[in-house]
Amino acid sequence: MKYVAPSSVEEATSLLSSSPSAQVFAGATDVVPQIRAGRPAPEVLVDLKKIEELVSVANDEDKWTVGAATPTANLTDDPAFSEEFPGLTEAAGLIGSDQIQNRSSLGGNLCNGSPAADSVPAMVVNGARAVVAGPNGTRVLDVAEVVTGPGQTSLDADEFIVEFEIDRIPARTGDAYLRMIPRTEMDIAVVGAGARITLAEDGSIEHAALALAAVAPTVVRVPEAEAALVGNTADDETLSAVADAASEACDPIDDKRGTVAYRRQVAGVLAKRAVLIAIERAQQRNGTN
């Protein structure tokens, strides 16, 4: 195995085009355990962390730009980012220990393709986009379009994610992420639920987004729950429709962490709670940004 650390996006794409079995990495917190577990190591390992765009976090009037290889600790330690996206920050902050967080990236969390990846539902509800570089330049994909199945993405072998774009949060909008694990720290989600709510001037729900992790082969949106929320307030009837829709959206596995029935039930409960937190945050964010 050969290690290479390109210093520009162009250098990285030409490396990937010229060596078909090359693999990119950021924190290696998924890559190394997979190699240790017997997955064949790639011939060439391309370290993305020496490319400036890949490890920077910036914002302008319209959007935040988060380098795909940025350690998640840089996001959780960024007061402006975490104030604007507390849900996405919490999700990123749940990945492993401090040791892991100083390495783990959003690009790796997404492209590893785990159905239980914590940051993914939170990125999806915030409408995050992935800027993908390849031999013919860049293209932009919704984060929800990247993962196609466990361990599988829609990217070509010579493509990688440069950065994520997330539009600045509108007024009266809040996000939230909750996950259920058997321990308090350091475990894989049994269920994860990300929500984002925008309130209308009159306090009713104008926009709603709900996404679940660990209950299906990929992270799933729950359009029925979103439809139940829009135009309403979080009364009991609406919330139980949200919970039912979330349980219904599950196509989970049965394993030692949770049975199918348990995951379905927990998905409903977490969905409701995440929506309530997002609403509370939306109420607090009354002005613009």
């Binding site: 290696a28 492993g96 350091m186």
Partner: protein, 158 residues
């Protein structure tokens, strides 16, 4: 296979070593640099016995490829003591019996130092979260938590 030449600063000293690209930072430190403080418990990021600081950030050395640290500054448990005098964390671990077999201790010391660098007066909950990436099979953790609290107190009083 060609070996890569790496230049780093380890525990304050400029250190050069040769490594294969697939070698972990943990194995390079142990086998090439001769620093065996950091231990391999799992090799997969779960136990924290291999914790070291790379450019002031605590990381699992088992998850880092050795060539990544070219030009970086590394702190291992061997660098905690200052000219023969134990670091307050080390002294408090000893006095508080915060270790039994000791395999986990180098990792706990580094993680605790990373915490106290950022937060000199952590609550018990903050300590427990900051040390969640370090596993100990012997102590039951309480003595470790108390040793960190005591060291934090001493360091604040200094």
């Amino acid at each position: 296979m060609a070996r890569t030449h790496i230049t780093t600063v380890v525990n304050g000293d400029e250190t050069e070593f040769l490594t294969e690209d697939s070698t972990s930072l943990l194995n390079a430190l142990r086998d090439e640099v001769g620093l065996t403080g950091a231990k391999e418990g799992c090799g997969t990021g779960d136990c924290g016995a291999c914790s070291v600081m790379v450019d002031d950030k605590v990381t699992c050395a088992c998850l880092v490829f050795a060539p990544e640290v070219d030009g970086s500054t590394i702190l291992t448990v061997e660098g905690l003591a200052d000219s023969g005098e134990l670091h307050p964390l080390q002294q408090c671990f000893l006095e508080g019996a915060a270790l039994q077999c000791g395999i986990c201790t180098p990792g706990f010391l580094i993680s605790a130092k990373a915490l106290l660098d950022k937060n000199p007066d952590p609550t018990e909950t903050e300590i427990r979260y900051a040390l969640a990436g370090n596993l100990c099979r012997c102590t039951g953790y309480d003595k470790i938590i108390r040793a960190v609290q005591e060291a934090a107190r001493e360091m604040r009083d200094q």
